[in-house]
């Protein structure tokens, strides 16, 4: 696991994860009021997966998020239209992508 430090109680927790603009944007709303959008490109770049290979998205299409799957209590797995779907994004990772 790439993010071994547990989230202490009181750390921000996402309330809503919203895929927008046909998968080009990922909007995260945290319970402390922080809201931010992460582009699919940035999210894809930050994938914590060990599989770093990159394929182009289908011809004529921009990179897009096509699936979001809950993982236990701590993360989501995000699938992209370039075939990459093994990155597991913890709340903490999403937080740092939202605020930095």
């Amino acid at each position: 696991m790439s993010d071994p430090s547990p989230l202490p109680p009181g750390e921000p927790w996402p309330e809503e994860l919203r895929v927008q603009d046909s998968g080009a944007q990922f909007k995260v709303t945290f319970d402390d009021g922080v809201v931010g959008s992460i582009s699919a490109e940035r999210l894809r770049e930050a994938s914590p997966s060990a599989d770093k290979s990159r394929n182009p998205p289908p011809p004529g299409q921009p990179l897009a998020i096509i699936e979001v799957e809950q993982m236990g209590n701590y993360a989501v797995r995000i699938g992209f239209n370039d075939g990459h779907s093994t990155g597991i994004y913890t709340w903490r990772l999403l937080r740092s992508l939202t605020t930095h």
Binding site: E15, R18, N55, I66, V68, M71, G72, G79
Partner: protein
């Protein structure tokens, strides 16, 4: 010649293009046709991934070839039609809540032999005695103990819908275990993905009905299977069982660390085989030392839920399929479990777990 459904059943053992979802469920099978002793299977794939699909293609051939009456298998990979790109979707999450089930708790231990299953069984019955609707999912697939502990010998039957298995109800608790489906002395030799799919079925394809609490008896240890369960079931928390000696506590610490890693709160630590009172002379012996689990819980910032003694009544009732909480509720041994069950109930329902999973929305 095998039937279509026999072929699909054989393909269930083959992961689909995503490397995980069984092929028949992946939606990638375009068609299965047969002529004489030949089977033709078409699978839709993303053309960008064609090179990576060769192992899947080979696995499909092997799986179908192994069926009786099949002479040849031809597997063709077809490119997904780019214009028919699937609409963005929130996939039925593996971690999604289970309908009708309010809280899911894991009873876990870092190592085997500490009485985890005995504790899980008695706590489940204890919670039911407190008026909650309780189910036990025996996820200890390699050493299922619930059939023995609950004294259940019958096999589960299909529910009215013909799709789901009905759990077996005993001592006020609904129980499901892989042990119901295999013989007592036959080994379960499974690879990780098989365990995962079996557990998913036990979570989703069992008619649990309305439950306040589902108690999952985890396999001992902190490996792939345990992590998988933690990822597949949205857990409200985990109870760690340990004996007091250092050797066991080291592993309990690992179990706590594992649950922290997947954001599952530790509801507390139980010290089992905490002390021994000699039935002849009444002298108390701290065979495995005493209080170690309490110290460890404190050190890890986890609540200590209580201790249960090493006592022949617990051993005999457990082996005899007549758990002490159900059959000798007034004994001090049952009381020890009931105290823990009460603390567990308040940890679960009083300080309501406010951390709700985020909504996932696809605009």
């Amino acid at each position: 010649m095998p039937s279509q459904s026999e072929i699909l059943a054989a393909l269930a053992a083959v992961p689909g293009p995503d490397g995980r979802t069984p092929l028949p469920q992946s939606g990638a099978i375009d068609g299965v046709t047969q002529r004489d002793d030949k089977v033709f299977i078409a699978i839709r794939i993303n053309p960008a991934e064609a090179a990576k699909m060769a192992p899947m293609q080979a696995a499909v051939e092997r799986a179908v070839k192994a069926l009786p009456g099949v002479g040849a298998v031809l597997v063709t990979l077809t490119a997904e039609n780019a214009s028919a790109k699937p609409a963005p979707r929130a996939r039925p999450a593996r971690g999604r809540p289970i309908e009708g089930v309010d809280k899911i708790i894991a009873v876990a231990s870092g190592k085997g032999g500490v009485g985890k299953s005995t504790t899980a069984c008695n706590l489940a019955i204890g919670l039911a005695r407190l008026g909650l609707k309780v189910g036990v999912l025996d996820a200890d697939v390699f050493g299922p103990s619930m059939p023995r502990l609950f004294g259940i010998k019958e096999k589960p039957t299909l529910a009215a819908d013909g799709q789901k298995l009905k759990p077996i109800e005993k001592y006020g608790v609904k129980v499901m275990s892989i042990g119901f489906l295999v013989e007592d002395n036959s080994a379960i030799v499974w690879r990780g993905p098989m365990v995962t799919s079996a557990l998913n079925q036990f979570l989703r394809d069992v008619e649990w009905g309305e439950l306040d609490v589902m108690v999952i008896d985890m396999p001992p240890g902190t490996g792939d299977v345990q992590l998988t369960i933690a990822q597949n079931a949205p857990m409200s928390g985990a109870v760690i069982v340990s004996t007091p000696q250092d050797l066991s506590l080291i592993d309990a610490r690992r179990a706590i660390a594992m649950f922290k890693q997947v954001e599952t709160p530790i509801l507390g630590v139980v010290e089992n085989m905490s002390y021994f009172v000699c039935p002849h002379c009444g002298t108390r012996s701290d065979i495995f030392a005493h209080g170690g689990a309490r110290h460890e819980a404190e050190a890890q910032g986890a609540p200590f839920l209580g201790e249960t003694p090493l006592h022949i009544l617990i051993r005999e009732t457990s082996d005899g399929g007549a758990p002490v909480v159900a059959t000798a509720p007034d004994s001090p041994q049952a009381k020890a479990f009931m105290d823990i069950a009460e603390r567990l109930r308040s940890a679960l329902f009083d300080t309501a777990n406010k951390r709700i999973l985020p909504r996932i929305v696809m605009d």
